[in-house]
């Protein structure tokens, strides 16, 4: 990221948090009424999503591309790769 964009991002980050401290605010009723709650939630939530999903994928769900290749139904036999000439032709049709 260039210097200019870093500054823009910084300004946006600070400004969004500042909105919690200036301007109208209501009495804290729920957890999200805590000042700057959504800034923290956005950052932490995003990191949690990335790490939890990646861990779930790595240790449980992810398989090689050709995982289902040996397990084809009889009707599917003959299945080849996705980047066949026909696929490109069909996409370009």
């Amino acid at each position: 990221m260039s210097r200019t964009w870093s500054i823009v991002l910084g300004v946006v980050l600070v400004a969004s948090v500042a909105m919690s401290f200036v301007g109208p605010s209501k009495e804290a009723e729920h957890i999200w009424d805590v000042k700057a709650f959504f800034a923290v939630y956005g950052f932490v939530g995003c990191v949690v999503i990335i790490y939890v999903s990646k861990a779930v994928g790595k240790y449980w769900l992810q398989r090689p591309d050709a995982y289902y290749e040996p397990y084809r139904a009889p009707a599917e036999v003959g299945e080849a790769g996705r980047d066949t000439p026909e696929a490109k032709e069909a996409d370009h049709a």
């Binding site: 999200w32 696929a87 049709a93």
Partner: protein
């Protein structure tokens, strides 16, 4: 009486006429039914219902109320925009099936009875499967097969529920189900499958990425949203749907992290977004139903736009995986900007459509006291911006450039994207026209200080986290197992107990029926000979005189058939 004409008729007539006009005119003719439908809808008045007697029931092919009208408007609009996106297409099969698909989606939302709904439901399954097959690759053929098997299974459950419902109540009317009878549960499962509620959702992420570039636009609009309509009509306020919706919203987010194919990523975010709608329907208050339907409306516009952007990438490069893409932006800067309008809409960025509809839905959850739901939906919203708004564009259009020579983008694709982007922006800036379509009166101001502050903080800090951790997010050339593993891993067995078993049973019934017919014919042709059937089981040749044989034969045939009919009648009822 144009205000009594069910809109599907226009689309079915269009599909019939399409192959008859010169090839060059077909993609333009495609635009006529949706335009005519928009004009037709403008003349509809709420409360109209057309009934047609059928056997001992009344079918209702047209029921106009606020709920069906809202979906009617957006489906017609989506067909029009999708048709413009597909103007360059020279594939009559796809055009015809897309028109039939759109028409039957309208057939479902305007159907006032369950039988009519079911018929259109099945036509949708077949015609949309064709949009997968039409890519004509072995992969898409197999994906289309799985898609239609799953949908036919869902359709069978739905039909079973409808027949049970008919048996219990004697009525085919489609209104809100209040009792948890076996019939309503079966119907709910049938609807849930099309709404892609886990664990019945895997068909979506399996098939959509394999559909044709233009076919996927229609698929992203119709199947799940007709299911949202049917859930909103039939199951508002069913608590189970709240939790199902939250699970959907987060399920899609997790799998989108793992997705490598750009349209698979977007497909998982259909699951996620439909989760908001399903949760809203489960909450069931007027505001929540307004939110759910408003979100369905905007979702069709922004998700179509996103699929169009991904389609341009696939059309021009022939590649669809993040691990093979990168650095494309200078070949298609306008497309990138238009895609980003869709991405900001789905992320709930102020000024764009998703901000309005998502705010209504989430606020409805808060007012109804579902505070955990609110937090989890916000979490899903973070994931949405992370993938659709940041990961996909970053690794497709920025990032290290791969070597390819993209083809030029057809003007009509860009035009369709521009229209969709304009509509998303318009609704974001001025939601009143959308409000006027919602099923209940609404007085809601999305642009207050708290909403804007919330969106600004969520989005800005999601961006920060993405930027710091983006090295973790690149596409991996791997697949992530989903619930379709249950039938794909044991494919041979599931093929035996699924399609093969049905085919075998059908074959047995057919052979038996034809055998009975053949026996009756033989008996009728030569009853004396038949009765003297020899020990080898063969039928000896004619012995009686021709005239006797014919008259006696006719008599025996009638007696046998009448006996059969009476017997079956007694057996069945």
């Amino acid at each position: 009486m144009p205000d009594m004409l069910p809109p599907f008729v226009l689309f079915f007539l269009g599909a019939l006429a399409l192959p008859l006009v010169p090839r060059a005119a077909r993609s333009w003719l495609f635009l006529v039914p949706p335009v005519a439908a928009l004009a037709l809808l403008a003349g509809f008045s709420e409360g109209t219902a057309v009934t047609v007697p059928f056997l001992s029931w009344e079918l209702v092919p047209l029921r106009v109320d606020r709920l069906s009208l809202l979906f009617g408007w957006i489906f017609s609009l989506a067909t029009l925009v999708g048709g413009i996106y597909a103007l360059h297409l020279k594939d009559t099969g796809q055009q015809v099936s897309a028109l039939l698909y759109a028409g039957s989606a309208l057939g479902v939302v305007f159907a006032g009875d369950l039988l009519t709904l079911f018929v259109f439901w099945e036509v949708m399954a077949v015609t949309s499967a064709y949009l997968v097959w039409a890519r004509r690759t072995p992969v898409s053929l197999a994906a289309g097969n799985r898609y239609i098997y799953v949908h036919l299974l869902g359709g069978s459950l739905l039909l079973g529920g409808i027949l049970l419902q008919l048996g219990e109540t004697g009525s085919l009317a489609f209104d809100a189900f209040t009792a948890g009878t076996p019939a309503s549960w079966l119907i709910l499962v049938g609807f849930a499958l099309n709404a892609a509620i886990p664990p019945l959702h895997a068909w979506l992420a399996d098939a959509y990425p394999e559909a044709t570039v233009t076919g996927a636009i229609f698929m992203s609009a119709f199947t799940t949203k007709t299911a949202v309509y049917t859930l909103a009509r039939g199951f508002p306020g069913w608590d189970l749907l709240i939790y199902a919706g939250v699970v959907m919203a987060l399920w899609g987010v997790v799998y989108a992290v793992l997705a490598d194919d750009i349209r698979r990523l977007l497909a998982y975010h259909i699951v996620s977004q439909v989760g908001y709608m399903v949760a809203g329907i489960g909450i069931g208050t007027e505001m929540a139903l307004n939110g759910a339907t408003a979100h369905a409306f905007t979702h069709i516009l922004y998700k179509g736009l996103l699929f169009m952007g991904a389609g341009v990438v696939i059309y021009t490069t022939g590649k669809s995986r993040l691990s093979e893409l990168g650095g494309l932006w200078r070949y298609m800067p306008v497309v990138v900007v238009l895609y980003m309008v869709g991405a900001l809409s789905i992320s709930g960025f102020p000024l764009f459509s998703g901000f309005v509809s998502k705010s209504i839905t989430v606020d409805a959850a808060e007012y109804a006291g579902h505070l955990n739901v609110v937090l989890l939906l916000h979490l899903a919203s973070i994931g949405t911006f992370l993938h659709t708004g940041l990961k996909l564009p970053y690794f497709t259009w920025w990032g290290p450039e791969k070597s390819y020579e993209p083809r030029p983008v057809p003007w009509n694709m860009v035009a369709a994207m521009a229209i969709a982007a304009a509509l998303n922006t318009l609704i974001g800036l001025w939601p009143t026209p959308l409000y006027n379509l919602l099923p209940f009166a609404i007085d809601y101001a999305p642009y207050d200080y708290a909403h804007v502050k919330k969106a600004a903080q969520l989005l800005a800090f999601t961006f920060l986290a993405f930027w710091l951790f983006r090295h973790k997010l690149g596409g991996e050339a791997r697949i992530a197992l989903d619930t379709d593993w249950v039938y794909r891993r044991p494919a041979r067995i599931s093929h035996q107990i699924g399609p093969r078993a049905v085919a075998t049973a059908f074959g047995a019934v057919e052979r038996t029926a034809m055998g009975v017919v053949g026996a009756v014919v033989r008996l009728g042709r030569d009853p004396v000979g038949a009765l003297r059937r020899d020990q080898r089981g063969s039928w000896p040749g004619p012995t009686a005189s021709t005239s006797l044989r014919v008259s006696l034969g006719a008599g025996v045939a009638v007696v046998v058939l009448v006996t059969l009919v009476v017997f079956l009648r007694l057996l069945v009822f």
